[in-house]
Symmetry: C2
Subunit: 478 residues, 2 copies
Amino acid sequence: MIEALDASKTPINKKMQFAVIGGGVIGGGWVARFLLMGCDVNVFDTAPEASRKINEVLDNARRSLPGLYEHLLPKEGRLVFCSSIAEAVSRADWISESIPERLDIKQAAYAEIQGHCPEGAIIASSTSGFKPSELQEDASRPQQIIVAHPFNPVYLLPLVELVGDPQTTEHAAMILSQLGMHPLRVRKEIDAHIADRLLEAVWREGLWLISDGVATTQEIDDAIRYGFGLRWAQMGMFETYRIAGGEAGMAHFIQQFGPALEWPWTKLMDVPELTDELINKIASQSDQQSGQYSIRELERIRDDNLVAMMRALKGKDWGAGSLLNQVDQTLTLKSDMPSTPTALGDSVRTTHRVVPSSWVDFNGHMNDSHYGEVFSTASDVLLHGIGADQAYIAQGCSYFTVDLQISYLAECLAGEQINVFTSITLAEGKKLQLSHEMKNAQGDVCATCSQFLLHVDLKSRKSCPPLAAVAEALARLN
Amino acid sequence: MIEALDASKTPINKKMQFAVIGGGVIGGGWVARFLLMGCDVNVFDTAPEASRKINEVLDNARRSLPGLYEHLLPKEGRLVFCSSIAEAVSRADWISESIPERLDIKQAAYAEIQGHCPEGAIIASSTSGFKPSELQEDASRPQQIIVAHPFNPVYLLPLVELVGDPQTTEHAAMILSQLGMHPLRVRKEIDAHIADRLLEAVWREGLWLISDGVATTQEIDDAIRYGFGLRWAQMGMFETYRIAGGEAGMAHFIQQFGPALEWPWTKLMDVPELTDELINKIASQSDQQSGQYSIRELERIRDDNLVAMMRALKGKDWGAGSLLNQVDQTLTLKSDMPSTPTALGDSVRTTHRVVPSSWVDFNGHMNDSHYGEVFSTASDVLLHGIGADQAYIAQGCSYFTVDLQISYLAECLAGEQINVFTSITLAEGKKLQLSHEMKNAQGDVCATCSQFLLHVDLKSRKSCPPLAAVAEALARLN
């Protein structure tokens, strides 16, 4: 059945049968990814709470994974809880093993799985530490057992490390790609594969920092998420350092910074000798990885990615995004124009900003949908000015847009300054009509917008007259 | 002058004078952040290319930093290239030193700086390795010299590690906060502060992996950016592991996973002993850091952040975002409805998706601006169907939206399925009129949209008739 899968066919063959042995956080994450990508899954887990736990992971996955795509995912697969390994694996094409990290327990599970599963099935262990050769000891069909090590949350993070028989891992890589993952085939089996060796190194260093009273867990986390964590979400360590090395190149960077490793910095001192051979190996691998871009291009790719991700976190008011919101608040305080009108038709400035690089589309200008975003934000500013602010919303009322008309008059480019001037043209009971004008720095009108809103009770989700605070502010305009 | 700065005042006191000694990648990054946040900067650098290099960094900063904010930054400060340290620092309130990492050169620079700068100025070294006590040796006013270690690109990444005299670093922290940065005050001076100790550990482990032929630079970078790099951009290591530990708590997590550190995983084996005292210290610090959220809440915050960041990278078609685009392409192929109309008024399905969690606003529903985004994407699908695709755009023509009218009829919630049906209602020469209807899974109409577009020559940015391929496709509809 797996043989039927190929890249020219549908992305995921719904006829594939997946089995998951062990339904904890990792096993549950596998279940969620398989099901939401349209595949049927049999689960075996002896824990009394297994079903509740898996359903909790599934709830999280259902509210996050489908939103990553601009198209609907296939119809969710069928989930069956099985009462034995035999029942779970007897027709399975793929068997994920996510049971506790004890070699004897895992080996016993493989013996039982291999006693009942098809010979062509892939048995993929989620182990973060064991090597395939250890897992395969005494197995009847050793090459059938591989490592497919995922990262939590499995339903969102794409990385899977694959280690084992070349043919089996190649087949596995094809299937995982079709599930939206990034299979990383590890060249040599080593304890902890690749990523966990890097994680182990940081964990160890973090424990020292805490043990020595140098930093707290919060301080270490902040050192990561406000700094190199943002870089590593889009480029890894070597591509980042290639940029730092500048036009002089990667070999120069290592020669310059390499010796720092021999300083008495850490308690862990065994460092590979930076021979010319090692330096050249790294430099040529880096050329192959990133050589198609100049350093200047890489800088701009990095910066555009950082702007897009930091703005995404801003929408969530979290981490680096919270800091941006804090600066925005102080910038509002500095604004030299009032954003509250004193009469109907009185125009006030509600927006004073530049176009972010992340708003530009394939036509090289601000995408039409972001004009709507600018006017939506301008309305929020004006609504706050008349008292319909966060505190008002917390009382259970808000304004909803009912009709919007935008005329596009001029293009806006990345980095260009834009201002929006907004007036209230109608305020009658629950009805509110706004008129916006967007201008660039030269004063050219780039767009106009007419927006009709209704005041709404957030409990009943039905329209209603505004509460006293807003009603009085509006009455003063008439 | 610095004394005038306080949180109740303007975010950045424009009267502050900054000086930057050494204008490489880091020094240039400081120059860019100071200037763009509205401050005046004097630069001293003896390198012949200093001015060109700083202007290149400034170009990058100007195209990225201002777009992070929803408000205009203050007017850019004044940049002066000085011919001596004395000239650069004589009236400076803040002096950033970013010269090469050699202690004797740095100490000589401080002697000259202290001979000419105000006594109340802060002298902040960007050193990634030296301790303040080393920098201060033989200085006339030691407490004036601190470490303020930033991260590249300095104009975007918020982290700065501050080490040194408590009063001076407190003052420095206040100023850096006003520049939009996250000052991390390091409790004890140690070589390499905090972040670079973590980075060193990963770098060392990466060198081993390459030296031993286990992985290439590309494979290590992929292990980072498709996996834990995404996690670390929003939560650090300890908050992430707190979630992995689940309801059992952080102490349980360390007890369970801690011993793994004593396995023969790496070549570097000195690990702190996991005494009860250390375990409790970590657990209570973690409670203080994240205890206000339940594990379930942390999972959802993490997932919403990941969705928002991965969608941001999708817009840039980079890293984890490229993978999402690849799956979207296979999902399009699977679509069971044609997206090309055969006659005017003929309605085809152009969107079939769910509402991502990152589209929901404070009213608990899909923000009004994302209705525009949905219709914009629906238009792209239809335009591709009539031949105005990426290849057509590459030939120098495209359609621009000129007028858009949206009627909002029903709310859409996160995770809800939406479909858009689009028809061409007018196709005459350069004019194109589209009509969209957005429906939920129950078939209720959530919104309608009328969109008027003009065909445009991307060189002249003026309207023109479509090229043959599109003109013929449209002619067949009439």
